[in-house]
Symmetry: C2
Subunit: 166 residues, 2 copies
């Protein structure tokens, strides 16, 4: 199939440095603050963004190298199909996060609730709208988690690039 | 910035043919059925996907040509920053939809609640997890819609490729 070429519109800055083997964050994400530096040529496109409490960020997992079609998520024993996980090691290493918008000022977008590695290239920003909100009746294999691990931690950890993946 | 290259993992098939000037769908999306044909080499990655009621699809707006940083959404009078809309004409024409998963069978993923043009190249599939569900307190400029237009219609129409955008 035909290749598709994109160009980053900015860089996401967060406190999560891309260090292999760093301790897993038990409360990763919630309230963590950072900002996006938008490339000057795209700043005009941010107009009226501030009216939305949440944004969808679509970004490139720049540290992800290669992929396997079955992955063993952090703290889980079984292999799962990569598309049933949020692992960064996927055929197209695209990440998606819903973050809280704090403020937009001079090409900087201040955001909260981050679980994204520092220096990540941003591809797109979309406003979070009611259609994006769905009832979550089941969470597939995630419900089989080890009973002593907090659900939140396991869910979050499927989305970070610094997770250990065996 | 460095270019990023992706390769489609499959094609999304829907009843929405890409015809310019087709009537705007007032109830577009809800209950509309379609399927994704996954490329044979990625089928193994679909394992255990069926446990999730909703999927996040990330795809390429293949019919979108060029962009402007301010767009006039369908049925709205004012120009808005492109990142505050779901317009397909964006710097990186990436689409994101949350769809209902019906069934996975032999490399075909049957889905519902579609608002995607037929033939759209798919880049990634992710399970929809509780972290993706956010309270929507405000919907920015969308709340200033003409009073006789149903909210749902306006919201949906910001995401389709066959919308008229002046």
């Amino acid at each position: 199939m035909k290749k598709i070429i994109y160009k980053p519109i900015g860089i996401i800055h967060t406190p999560f440095k891309a260090t292999k083997g760093m301790p897993n964050q038990p409360t990763a994400g919630k309230n963590v603050e950072g900002f996006i530096e938008i490339q000057p040529e795209y700043i005009e496109g941010l107009s009226e963004l501030e009216g939305f409490p949440h944004l969808i960020l679509i970004y490139h997992f720049h540290l992800s190298v290669g992929y396997t079609l079955r992955v063993k998520p952090f703290m889980h024993d079984h292999l799962r199909g990569v598309f049933a996980t949020r692992s960064p090691r996927r055929p197209n290493p695209i990440g998606m996060s819903v973050v809280r918008l704090t403020r937009v000022k001079e090409g900087r977008i201040y955001i909260k609730d981050l679980d994204i590695t520092d220096g990540t290239p941003l591809l797109d920003i979309k406003p979070y709208i009611p259609d994006d909100r769905q009832k979550v009746e089941r969470i597939g294999w995630l419900s089989q988690r080890a009973k002593h691990i907090r659900k939140k931690s396991v869910l979050r950890s499927t989305n970070t690039q610094h997770d250990k993946e065996e």
